[in-house]
C-alpha cells in the first residue's frame, strides 16, 4: 500500500452507500446470487449482473461502480428485492448509486432530459400542442395545469436543480 494513496479495498464506499437513502441494507449481502437469477436484464445481456455490482460495491471499487455502465442498466423491476433472502433493498441500492454518480457529475443524457422536462413543465414527458388538440377532439376534458411553480420550488429546496445544471455546464 502506497503512502498517501487511498486504500482501494476499504469499507468506506459501502459505508457511504449505507448512509445514503435507499442504500441502508447493502451490508447484509452475502453474495448468494438470487438477485442475478431473478434479473430480467441479466437474462438478456452480459453487461449487467446485480450480484456483481454489489460485490464490487462491498469490496470498495467506487470508481468502477459509480462511473461504470452497469448501474444504469437496472430496470427497477424489484424482482431481486422481493426474492433477496437477506432483505437487501437491491433496487433501492441502485437508486442510491445513481444518486451518488449524478452528484459526482455522471448523468446519462436521458436523465438530463427527464429532469429538464420536470423543471420546465412539471412533467417528465412534455405534452405537445397536437395532443392537446386531439384531447378535445376525442372528448377528453382539457388538462388541468400542472403545479410547475411548486415543483420548481421543491427542486430548488432540495438542490435537485443544481444536479441538472452540473450536466449542462459539462456538456
Amino acid at each position: 500500500m502506497l503512502h498517501g494513496k487511498e486504500d482501494k479495498h476499504s469499507n468506506s464506499f459501502s459505508k457511504e452507500v449505507a448512509n445514503q437513502l435507499g442504500g441502508e441494507t447493502v451490508n447484509f449481502c452475502y453474495q448468494c446470487g438470487t438477485c442475478a437469477s431473478s434479473c430480467p436484464v441479466a437474462k438478456v445481456t452480459e453487461r449487467f449482473n446485480p450480484r456483481e455490482v454489489l460485490r464490487q460495491l462491498l469490496l470498495g471499487e467506487r470508481r468502477e461502480v459509480l462511473f461504470g455502465d452497469a448501474i444504469w442498466l437496472c430496470c427497477s423491476c424489484y424482482n431481486c428485492q422481493e426474492r433477496c433472502p437477506q432483505k437487501v433493498e437491491i433496487a433501492d441500492v441502485f437508486y442510491a448509486l445513481r444518486n451518488l454518480a449524478i452528484k459526482e457529475g455522471k448523468m446519462p443524457n436521458i436523465y438530463f432530459e427527464f429532469s429538464a422536462g420536470l423543471t420546465n413543465e412539471g412533467r417528465i414527458v412534455p405534452i405537445s400542442k397536437f395532443l392537446e388538440k386531439k384531447r378535445t377532439e376525442i372528448g377528453l376534458p382539457p388538462l388541468k395545469p400542472a403545479g410547475v411553480e411548486a415543483v420548481r420550488k421543491i427542486l430548488s429546496a432540495t438542490g435537485f436543480d443544481k444536479l441538472s445544471r452540473k450536466k449542462e455546464e459539462s456538456s
Binding site: Y30, Q31, P85
Partner: protein
C-alpha cells in the same frame, strides 16, 4: 440481642502484600474498632495453620463473626465457611475481602492512600459483619423420578441413562410410536449407518450383544427396569416446584390393546379408509389403522381417530383374531410426581409452502430432504427407489437447493446447521444406488464443520456430484416434457443457468417441533427469539434451563446432528441425576424475604423476578402479598430494587448492611482526591475489579469498592445516599446489558441510573457524577481507566455542596 464479637484475620501473603501494606498499622486500627474482639495476622488463613487458628477462635467462642482479608477470596470463602460451620458457627457470618487485588496491587504507587483504603475496607467488612444474620440451610424433597418429554433419539438416550442409574423414569411421546425425526431420516451422516439401528441407546443392560446396535424394537429398550413409556401422550399441566413436580399427562386412546395385538396386519386388509401417509411424506397411503414402519415401538397398531369410522364400520374388530381392537377406549389423564423434567422434543422441517417461488405443494416433483429420505429408506414408501412423485418414474436428474427458508431474513434467519450434511448424504446415497444419476447441489456455502465431515464433502465431489454456488431464484415447470427448470446463477462463473430436473429437493430449514410453544408455557421455560428452548448458558450449562429442575437436550435447543444429540442426552441425564441424587435439595436461605405489612400487592416483583420465584398469595379477602419461594430464589435482589415501598429485602444484603458499608467506605480520606464509590455486581463488575488488581493496573485509591449480588438490587435513592455518605462520584459497575447473569438486572439499572441523573440535576448536582459502566471480567484495564476518568472528572468539577454534612471530612 448480644453484641457481636468480630474476629479479624489479616493474611499478609508472606512478602506478597506485607511489602505494600503496613499490617502492624492495620492490626492496631482494627483493634480499636468497636465490636472487634480479636485481630490476628498470618501468611494465610484459608488453609493450614492459619485456618486452624481461625477455627480455634470460633470453637473457643472468642468470636462469633469472622472477617478475613485473604487473597483469592472466592476460593478462601468456600474453605473458611465450611471449616467455620464444622466448628459450630453459622457459615454465613463470614465476610472475606481482598486486600491484595483491591488495594495493595492497584495502588502500589500510592502507599499512603492504599493504607487508608485498606482501613476503610476492613471497617466496612467489620460493620457489615456486625449486622450479618445467621442463614439457615433448608432442605426440600427431591423425588428420584424423572419425566422425559419426547421419545426420539435424545429422549430415549437420556431416559435410559437415568433408568440405569436407578431413577424412576417416565418417557412421554406425543405420537403413537417412538423414534422421532431420526427414525424417518434413513441414515445418519457421516457414517451412513441406518438411523433406526444406531438410534437405540447404547444400553448398559446386556441384551443381545455388548454394543447393542440394534433397533428400538429389538434392543430391549422397553424392558429396562425403572423405565415407563407412554406413547400417544402429551404433558398438559405442570405444577409444583423443582424436586417435587406434579405433571399431568394426557394419553390419547390407541384403540388397540397393546397386550393383545400380534401385528398380524389383518385389520389393514379390511379397513376401508385410505389416506395420505404423513409419516412417509404422503408418498403413499395408509389405512386408518396403521403402523408407521414394520419396526416400531410399541409393536402395536394404532387407530387414527380423525379418519376412522368407528362404530359405523367395525370391520377391523370383526377380523382381529385376538380381539385386540377396542373402539371405546377413552382419553386418560395421569398425574406423575417427579423431581425433574427433561424436554427432548426435537425439531421439524419448516414447511416451504410459503416460499412460493419454489412451488412446493404445487409441483409434485418438488420435495423436501425428509421426503427424499423416506424414499431412499428401504422401509419407506417406494422400497428404496428414488422416483418422481408426478409419474412414479425413476428420477435421473436431481437438483438440491440448500438454505430453503434458512439464512433467510424473510423466514428463518438462522443456519439450520445440518442440512448441508444431509443433502450430501442423500446425494451420495442416490449416486451409490445409481451411478448414472445426474445430481447437482445449489448452495450459498457448504458447511461441513464436524469431525470427518470434510471427507464427506470430498467423497461427494469424487462421486461426480456437481456443485453450483448460487441460490436459485425460482423453479418453473415446463409441461412440455414434464420437466422442472431451476433458475440459478453460477456466481463463480457469472453465468445464468437453467438446470433441468426430474426431481428438485429442498433442504428446508429446521424449526422447533410442533407443540414447542405450548410446552414452553406449560413448563414455564423461556424460548429464544428463534423459538427453540433457551438453555441457561450455551457454554457452561447447555442442557440446563433457568429453572432448577428442568433440563433440555437434543434438537429442542437447536438443530443438531446425532453425535451432539447423544452428548446432550447424557449431559441432561447427568444433570438431573446430580440434582436428585441425594433425595433432597439443600439450599441456603440467602434469599429474598417479604415484609408482609408493607407489601402493597402491586405485583411488580413477581413480574420482574427472572426465576419466577415470587408469587402472590391471598392473606385476607382481596388482599394479596408477595411470597418468595426459597427453593427458586437465586438471591439476586432485583426484586428489592424494584419494590416501590421497600417491602422486600435480601437476607444477606439488607439495606442497613449496605448503608453501613457505604458509610464505612467513605469514612477516611486524608488525601486530596475526591471519593468515588464504585458499586459492583458480584458477577462481571466485581470480577473486573479483581482482574484489574491481578494485572496490577493502577487507579486512584479514592475509588472505594462495594459489592452487591446484582446491580438490580439498587434503588434510585441509594445513589443519592451514596452522595450523602461522602461520595463525590458514584460508579455503578455491572454486566453488559445482553449478558447480565440475572438477565434483567443490568438493563434495569441503566434505566435507574438515567432517572437518578435527572434527579441529581434537580438537586443541583452534576449528573456526570453518576455513571454506569458495563464490563466483563477480562476488562480490568477498562475498569482501571474508568476509575481514573471518574476521578479526573470530579477533580475538575470540584466538591459537591450539600446541605447536610457527611460523617467523614472531605476537602
Amino acid at each position: 440481642m448480644e453484641k457481636a464479637k468480630v474476629g479479624v484475620f489479616l493474611a499478609d501473603g508472606g512478602k506478597g502484600i506485607a511489602e505494600f501494606l503496613d499490617f502492624k498499622g492495620l492490626t492496631a486500627y482494627c483493634k480499636q474498632v468497636s465490636g472487634v474482639t480479636q485481630v490476628s495476622q498470618a501468611t494465610e488463613f484459608w488453609r493450614g495453620e492459619g485456618l486452624k487458628k481461625l477455627v480455634d477462635a470460633v470453637k473457643q467462642k472468642k468470636i462469633d463473626r469472622v472477617v478475613v482479608a485473604e487473597n483469592l477470596p472466592k476460593l478462601a470463602e468456600v474453605n473458611i465457611a465450611k471449616a467455620v460451620e464444622q466448628a459450630g458457627l453459622n457459615p454465613y457470618l463470614v465476610e472475606v475481602i481482598d486486600l491484595r487485588d483491591h488495594c495493595a496491587m492497584p495502588h502500589r504507587d500510592v502507599p499512603k492512600e492504599a493504607a487508608e483504603k485498606a482501613k476503610v475496607m476492613l471497617l466496612a467488612a467489620i460493620e457489615r459483619a456486625k449486622l450479618l444474620e445467621p442463614i439457615d440451610k433448608l432442605e426440600f424433597p427431591a423425588i428420584k423420578s424423572v419425566l422425559v418429554i419426547g421419545g426420539g433419539i435424545a429422549g430415549m438416550q437420556t431416559a435410559e441413562d437415568l433408568a440405569d442409574l436407578g431413577f424412576k423414569v417416565q418417557l412421554v411421546e406425543k405420537t403413537p410410536f417412538l423414534g422421532g425425526l431420526a427414525a424417518r431420516a434413513g441414515r445418519f451422516f457421516p457414517t451412513n449407518d441406518c438411523a433406526i439401528c444406531i438410534e437405540s441407546p447404547a444400553s448398559d443392560i446386556k441384551t443381545i450383544t455388548h454394543t447393542s446396535r440394534k433397533c428400538v424394537y429389538r434392543s430391549g429398550f422397553s424392558e429396562i427396569p425403572n423405565l415407563g413409556i407412554l406413547t400417544n401422550s402429551r404433558v398438559v399441566k405442570v405444577e409444583g416446584v423443582p424436586g417435587n413436580y406434579k405433571a399431568t399427562i394426557e394419553k390419547k386412546p390407541r384403540y388397540v390393546d397393546e397386550l393383545k395385538c400380534t401385528r398380524c396386519g389383518l385389520c389393514t386388509t379390511v379397513c376401508p379408509v385410505e389416506i395420505p401417509d404423513e409419516y412417509n411424506a404422503r408418498l403413499k397411503t395408509r389405512k386408518a389403522i396403521y403402523m408407521n414402519i414394520p419396526d416400531v415401538y410399541p409393536p402395536t397398531y394404532v387407530i387414527d381417530e380423525t379418519s376412522c369410522k368407528f362404530h359405523k364400520c367395525e370391520k377391523c374388530v370383526e377380523v382381529c383374531p385376538t380381539g385386540a381392537i377396542e373402539l371405546d377406549q377413552k382419553t386418560q389423564h395421569t398425574t406423575l410426581n417427579v423431581g425433574s423434567i427433561i424436554a427432548a422434543t426435537g425439531f421439524q422441517e419448516y414447511d416451504p409452502r410459503v416460499i412460493k417461488e419454489y412451488h412446493y405443494g404445487e409441483y409434485p416433483d418438488v420435495i423436501t430432504n425428509l421426503e427424499l429420505a423416506r424414499m431412499i429408506d428401504g422401509f419407506g414408501p417406494t422400497n428404496g427407489t428414488v422416483s418422481r412423485p408426478s409419474n412414479h418414474e425413476p428420477a435421473k436428474r436431481i437438483v438440491f437447493i440448500q438454505c430453503v427458508g434458512s439464512r433467510d431474513r424473510r423466514w428463518n434467519p438462522w443456519c439450520s446447521s445440518i442440512c448441508c450434511m444431509i443433502s450430501l448424504k442423500n446425494a451420495m446415497l442416490i449416486k451409490e444406488a445409481d451411478p448414472s444419476a445426474d445430481v447437482t447441489i445449489c448452495y450459498i456455502d457448504i458447511r461441513t464443520t464436524g469431525r470427518e465431515h470434510e471427507y464427506y464433502y470430498e467423497k461427494a465431489r469424487e462421486m461426480g456430484i456437481k456443485f453450483v454456488k448460487g441460490r436459485p431464484t425460482e423453479i418453473a415447470h415446463d409441461p412440455d416434457g414434464n420437466v422442472l427448470v431451476v433458475d440459478v446463477e453460477d456466481a463463480i462463473l457469472r453465468k445464468l443457468l437453467e438446470l433441468e430436473a426430474d426431481l428438485v429437493v429442498l433442504a428446508t430449514a429446521m424449526v422447533p417441533a410442533e407443540g414447542t410453544q405450548e410446552l414452553a408455557k406449560t413448563l414455564g421455560v423461556e424460548l429464544g427469539e428463534d423459538g427453540f428452548f433457551k438453555e441457561y448458558n450455551a457454554k457452561l450449562r447447555p442442557t440446563e434451563t433457568k429453572l432448577r429442575g428442568i433440563f433440555l437436550c437434543g434438537g429442542a435447543t437447536f438443530p443438531k446432528d446425532a453425535p451432539t444429540t447423544s452428548l446432550q442426552a447424557h449431559s441432561a441425564a447427568m444433570k438431573a441425576a446430580k440434582f436428585l441424587n441425594t433425595g433432597k435439595i439443600v439450599k441456603d436461605q440467602r434469599t429474598a424475604i417479604v415484609n408482609e405489612e408493607y407489601c402493597g400487592d402491586c405485583e411488580f416483583c413477581p413480574v420482574t423476578c427472572p426465576f419466577n420465584a415470587i408469587s402472590l398469595v391471598s392473606k385476607e379477602k382481596d388482599h394479596f402479598v408477595a411470597q418468595v419461594s426459597d427453593l427458586q430464589c437465586e438471591g439476586c435482589g432485583i426484586c428489592v430494587g424494584t419494590c416501590p415501598v421497600n417491602a422486600i429485602e435480601l437476607r444477606h444484603m439488607r439495606p442497613n448492611q449496605m448503608a453501613a458499608q457505604m458509610k464505612a467506605l467513605m469514612s477516611i480520606n486524608g488525601t486530596s482526591k475526591p471519593l468515588v464509590l464504585a458499586i459492583c455486581c458480584s458477577e462481571c463488575g466485581h470480577t473486573a475489579v479483581d482482574s484489574s488488581g491481578m494485572a496490577m493496573m493502577q487507579y486512584p485509591a479514592n475509588v472505594r469498592i462495594m459489592k452487591v449480588p446484582c446491580t438490580g438490587i439498587l434503588r434510585v435513592q441509594q445513589f443519592l445516599e451514596a452522595f450523602k455518605a461522602g461520595a463525590q462520584a458514584v460508579m455503578v459497575v455491572g454486566c453488559k446489558s445482553d449478558g447480565c447473569h440475572y438477565e434483567v438486572g443490568s438493563p434495569k439499572t441503566q434505566k435507574k441510573v438515567a432517572l437518578a441523573k435527572i434527579l441529581l440535576k434537580e438537586f443541583g448536582i452534576e449528573p456526570e457524577r453518576l455513571e454506569m459502566f458495563n464490563f466483563v471480567y477480562i476488562e480490568g484495564d477498562k475498569f482501571a481507566e474508568a476509575a481514573r476518568t471518574m476521578t479526573e472528572r470530579v477533580e475538575r468539577l470540584g466538591s459537591i455542596q450539600l446541605a447536610t454534612t457527611s460523617q467523614g471530612e472531605t476537602n
